[in-house]
Amino acid sequence: MTWRDLAWMPAAFVVSFTINLTVIILALGVVTWFIWWFATPWLMRARAAVDRWFLAYSRTETLEQRVQVLAETRADLVDHSAAELRRLERDLHDGAQARLVALSMSLGMADAAFESEDPEQARQLIKDARSTTTAAIGDLRSVVRGIHPPVLADRGLAGAVAALALDMAIPVPVDAQLPGRPPAPVESAVYFAVAECLANVGKHSGARNGWVHLRHEDGVLRAIVGDDGRGGADPGAGTGMLGVMRRLAAFDGTLSVSSPAGGPTIVTLEVPCVLSSPRTTPSSGPA
C-alpha cells in the first residue's frame, strides 16, 4: 500500500460522495419538481407570515397609534369649534345685535317724535330704522352662510360647489360625479375646504382658469381643485389651509398640495366615507 493508495481513499470518498449527493439531489428534483412548483408560493407566504408576526406592529401598537391620532384630531377639533363659536359670537355681537339695538333706538326716538308732533323727524327716523333692518338681515345672512350655506342644504355638495364656482371671477368648470350624498358633517367640511381652495385661487394664483373634480371611488370622497396660475402655493403659509386640514383630519381626511413654481396648482382632498342612497333630484340645469 503506497501513500498514493492512502490518498486515494479520502479523495475517492469525497468525489463519490459529491457525485452521489448530486445524483440524489437531481433525482429528487426530477421526481419532486412539481411539488416545489406548487409549494414554493405557499412556503414563501408562510415565511412572510412568520416574519410579519415577529417584526410588524402588534395589534396593541396599532391601536396605540390610532388612539394618538384620534386624541390629536379631537383636540384640534375642539379648539377649532371653540374658535368658530367665538367668531360667531363676535359676528353676531358686532353685526346683527348692534344693528337691532340701533333699530330699537330709532323706533323709540320716532315714537317720541310723534309725541312731540314732529312727523317729519319721525318719518326720517323710521326710514333709518328700515335701512338698519336691511343691514341686520344682511349680517344674519352672511352669518348663516358661514355656518351652513343654504345652497348646500338644498342641492348637496355638487350643487353647492357649482354655485361657488359660478361666483368666481374666472371660469371654473365643475365635474361632479357623486352617486349619492356624503354624511352631512363630511359634506360640510369638504364644502368649506373647496371654498377655501377656490378663495385662494381667486386671491393668490393669478390664474385664468380653474377646475374642480368631485368623485367617490373605493370608499373615498375625492375633491380636486386646480388652477393654471403661478404656482408656488404653500399650504403652511396661511391659517386658512391649516384650518381646512384640521377639519378634514377629524374624518381621517387628508389634503395634499402640488404647486411647482410656474403652476399649475392642484389641491387634492380625500375623505373616506360612504354615500347615502341617491336622492331623486332633477338635473341642475346649465351652469
Binding site: R145, R155, P171
Partner: protein, 213 residues
C-alpha cells in the same frame, strides 16, 4: 292681475297679500306648501306667481322647482321668486329656458314697497328683475366675448337693466340724462347683435346674453 302666492311664513304671507292687494293685484290662491302650490299653478286663471324658494315639506328649494316646472308647462309664465338668500346658480336656472318674465329677489327687498310692486309689474310684463346681489356677482366675472366689447359704463347700464330698472331709474342712479342712457342701451343692443325687436324683448335678451344662459 291675478296672482298665485306661495309663502309658508304666516306673517309674511299676510303682509304680502295686504301689500299686493293694496296695489291693485288680485290674490287668486295664497298657499303655504309645495303640493298646494302645484295645484294652484294649474289654475288657468292665474296670470303670474309670487313664490318663496323654501316651502314645506322639505324646506329646500321646492318654490324654485315649482317655478321652473310651471314655466316648462306654460312658457313665459311670469314668476317672481323671493328668497332669504340669492344664488347666481338659481338665477341661471330660472332663466335657462331663454324666456324673460322672471324676477329673483331677496325677501327684504319687499320692504321697499313701491320698487317691489313695480318689479312684479315688470315681471308680469315679460321683463327680468334680478336682485342687485346677483347682478354684483355676475359683474365680478371676467367677461368673455361678446360682452367684453362693452365699455365699463355700458356694463353698468346692463347690470341695472338686469335689476329691472327703467331708463329713467338708470339715469337717476348714474346721475346722467335719460338720453345718455338710451344711447348706451342702443350701443349695447348693437354690440350684442340683438335684432330690432320690441324694446322690452331686447332688454331681456341683452340680460340673457350677459348672463350667458
Amino acid at each position: 292681475m291675478r296672482l298665485v302666492l306661495a309663502e309658508d311664513h304666516a306673517l309674511l304671507r299676510a303682509g304680502l297679500i295686504q301689500l299686493l292687494e293694496g296695489n291693485g293685484f288680485t290674490i287668486l290662491h295664497a298657499v303655504d306648501n309645495a303640493p298646494e302650490l302645484e295645484q294652484a299653478l294649474l289654475d288657468p286663471e292665474a296670470e303670474a306667481a309670487v313664490l318663496d324658494v323654501r316651502l314645506p315639506p322639505t324646506q329646500t328649494d321646492e318654490g324654485l322647482r315649482a317655478a321652473i316646472a310651471v314655466r316648462e308647462a306654460r312658457p313665459g309664465f311670469p314668476v317672481m321668486v323671493l328668497s332669504q338668500y340669492v344664488e347666481q346658480l338659481y338665477a341661471r336656472e330660472l332663466l335657462a329656458s331663454g324666456v324673460g318674465a322672471v324676477g329673483y329677489l331677496l325677501k327684504d327687498r319687499v320692504a321697499d314697497v313701491a320698487e317691489f310692486v313695480d318689479g312684479v309689474r315688470r315681471v308680469a310684463a315679460g321683463g327680468t328683475v334680478l336682485d342687485p346681489e346677483v347682478v354684483a356677482t355676475v359683474m365680478a366675472r371676467q367677461r368673455e366675448e361678446p360682452v367684453e366689447r362693452l365699455t365699463p359704463r355700458e356694463q353698468e347700464v346692463l347690470g341695472l337693466m338686469a335689476e329691472g330698472r327703467s331708463n329713467a331709474a338708470i339715469a337717476m342712479h348714474l346721475s346722467v340724462t335719460e338720453k345718455a342712457v338710451a344711447k348706451h342701451i342702443n350701443s349695447i343692443f348693437t354690440k350684442l347683435d340683438l335684432p330690432i325687436d320690441e324694446d322690452d324683448h331686447r332688454r331681456v335678451r341683452a340680460v340673457l346674453a350677459w348672463l350667458r344662459v
